[in-house]
């Protein structure tokens, strides 16, 4: 049972219940979208999977084995990579050093072509290889952040609002890259604010509000604006 499964997950920060009994699953070759308004619990779900948020109930299973209680670095080393919100690249390190950091999570039996693949997927990174990452544009930094996550050759890729603050043209680049990543057999869990594009791209999209799953949409629903709006307002 190759899958990343979230089962009845609850996350609580002090008095705030960020995620309530959420269940979802993502399998190799799939993109699963997670959309919803700010504060719906999307990022908290990703952080809970990574072992970086306080889980108060439920389970996260990777290929059948629970990830609860594991440290973020151990989750990463089991093949789950996160592209964090705000990209979080290391501005003072070079592009190449940022990518090499991704190797920290590489598992021993992998063939080690991760770096080349990141450069293939985002050619612009190769051009700026030895520049400080801080001088890249927002779109280039986002490509770097995704590339860095792929370097470790993960099985599961989690992305937290990768299109945030990007020009439409760059958003196209990012979404095209995600389609390629799915085609390569990775499982992608995509948190986004661009609901319509996400629904169109993903195999399934879950709408979250107030930490709860409200609705699940398929690609055929992408044109159904009324249904999307209703889901957000529900």
């Amino acid at each position: 049972m190759t899958a990343l499964a979230v089962e009845n997950l609850s996350v609580r920060y002090g008095a705030v219940e960020a995620v309530r009994k959420l269940s979802l699953e993502v399998k190799p070759g799939e993109i699963v979208g997670l959309i919803g308004p700010n504060g719906a619990g999307k990022s908290s779900t990703l952080h809970a999977i990574m072992g970086a948020a306080p889980v108060t109930g439920g389970d996260v299973r990777l290929d059948g084995r629970s990830l609860i209680g594991r440290r973020p670095e151990d989750v990463a080393r089991r093949g789950v990579a996160l592209v964090p919100e705000g990209r979080r690249i290391f501005g003072e390190l070079t592009v190449d050093e940022n990518l090499r950091l991704g190797l920290a999570a590489r598992r021993a039996r992998r063939n080690g072509h991760g770096l080349d693949r990141a450069y293939d997927l985002f050619p612009v990174l190769g051009e700026f290889r030895s520049r400080q990452a801080g001088v890249l544009s927002g779109g280039q930094q986002q490509q770097l952040a995704i590339g860095r996550a792929l370097v470790s050759e993960p099985d599961y890729l989690l992305l937290d609002e990768p299109s945030l603050g990007l020009a439409p043209k760059i958003v196209d680049v990012v979404f095209e890259a995600l389609a390629k990543i799915r085609h390569a057999g990775l499982a992608v869990l995509l948190v986004e604010q661009r609901a319509q594009r996400t629904v169109a791209l993903a195999d399934r999209s879950h709408v979250l509000a107030n930490g709860e799953l409200r609705l699940t949409l398929g690609p055929q629903d992408a044109g159904d604006t009324d249904r999307l709006v209703a889901a957000y307002l529900a």
């Binding site: 970086a52 964090p84 979080r88 950091l101 991704g102 190797l103 920290a104 999570a105 860095r148 470790s152």
Partner: protein, 302 residues
């Protein structure tokens, strides 16, 4: 000539460089741990004190020099790792104030243990003291230990630089110092990075212990304490969060200490610490972001 008027001679200049080199190592040792733990280890001086006593006892027990130095390294490393396990790790993530006070407590605890165990008079640094004999370098007589200190410090810093820039562990340590949370999410192992910083920091403390014991001839329970305060002042002077400026800051204050120590007449040497700290205050008033920071701020980034 003005240098002659100031009583600045080549040997004085050399001991300034030597003390500057040792202080630079201490600054890096303190800075590495600060980088990954956001903890200013005030007890760094007590690591050096312990190393000094280890060297002195090793010599007293008739160890050959290499064995006494090895013993010193062993004691300092064991104590650093112990400090990390018993104090730093349990307190990780607490407020900087809590951690600073904790390291103060450790510092005074160790200093008082040394006072009880070894008495206030301290011990002679032992057989290595012969390194205070001079070498004749082109007609100028320079203490051997001064040359050895400068070369050793430069070598240690060079090796560290290579480690930080050429190895995965070094890259992980630099990333952890910039943004620990993100580094962990990428798979950087927190424990390994912290252990790496603590061990290198301990190694530098051991090297400093050997150099300082020989330079100062006697090891007392307060050994290393004033040096640590001066180094901390130097590190702040340079800019705490930036490795190179912090190192330069440590070097500068050690250099100033050595030079002024040589220039002041012997009966006025008690004014030396006041003079140094007055200089630190003036520099901080003029350049609050640090002496060696360019333009932008040296403020810790979130």
């Amino acid at each position: 000539m003005i240098l002659a008027f100031l009583n600045l001679t080549w040997p004085t200049f050399a001991s300034g460089l030597a003390l500057g080199g040792v202080y630079a190592l201490m600054a890096v040792g303190i800075g590495l741990v600060f980088g990954v733990l956001r903890l200013v280890n005030f007890a760094y001086g007590q690591l050096i004190m312990a190393g000094g006593f280890a060297l002195a006892f090793g010599s007293q027990w008739g160890f050959p020099n290499w064995a006494a130095i090895l013993f010193c390294f062993g004691v300092v490393l064991a104590l650093s790792v112990l400090m990390d396990w018993l104090v730093f790790r349990p307190l990780r993530g607490h407020s900087p104030a809590v951690m600073l006070v904790a390291t103060f407590a450790v510092a005074f605890l160790l200093q008082n243990i040394a006072l009880l165990a070894f008495g206030p008079l301290g011990k002679s640094a032992g057989a290595l003291a012969i390194l205070n004999a001079p070498w004749d370098i082109g007609g100028v007589f320079i203490k051997k230990i001064a040359v050895i200190s400068v070369v050793t410090a430069a070598g240690c810093l060079l090796i560290l630089q290579l480690l930080l820039t050429r190895t995965p562990l070094g890259l992980h340590m630099r990333a952890a110092a910039m943004d620990f949370r993100t580094a962990r999410l990428l798979g950087v192992r927190a424990n390994r990075v912290i252990s790496g910083a603590v061990i290198i920091s301990g190694l530098f403390a051991a090297v400093s212990a050997v150099m300082l014991s020989v330079q100062e001839l006697t090891v007392v329970p307060a050994f290393g304490t004033q040096d640590t305060i001066l180094v901390l002042a130097g590190v702040v002077l340079g800019g705490l969060t930036r490795p190179v400026p912090a190192t330069l800051g440590g070097f500068s204050i050690g250099f100033a200490n050595g030079i002024l120590g040589g220039m002041l007449p012997a009966n006025q040497s008690q004014y030396l610490p006041s003079l140094l700290f007055a200089m630190v205050i003036i520099v901080l008033l003029v350049r609050p972001d640090g002496l060696f920071t360019r333009g932008g701020s040296a403020v810790e980034r979130v």
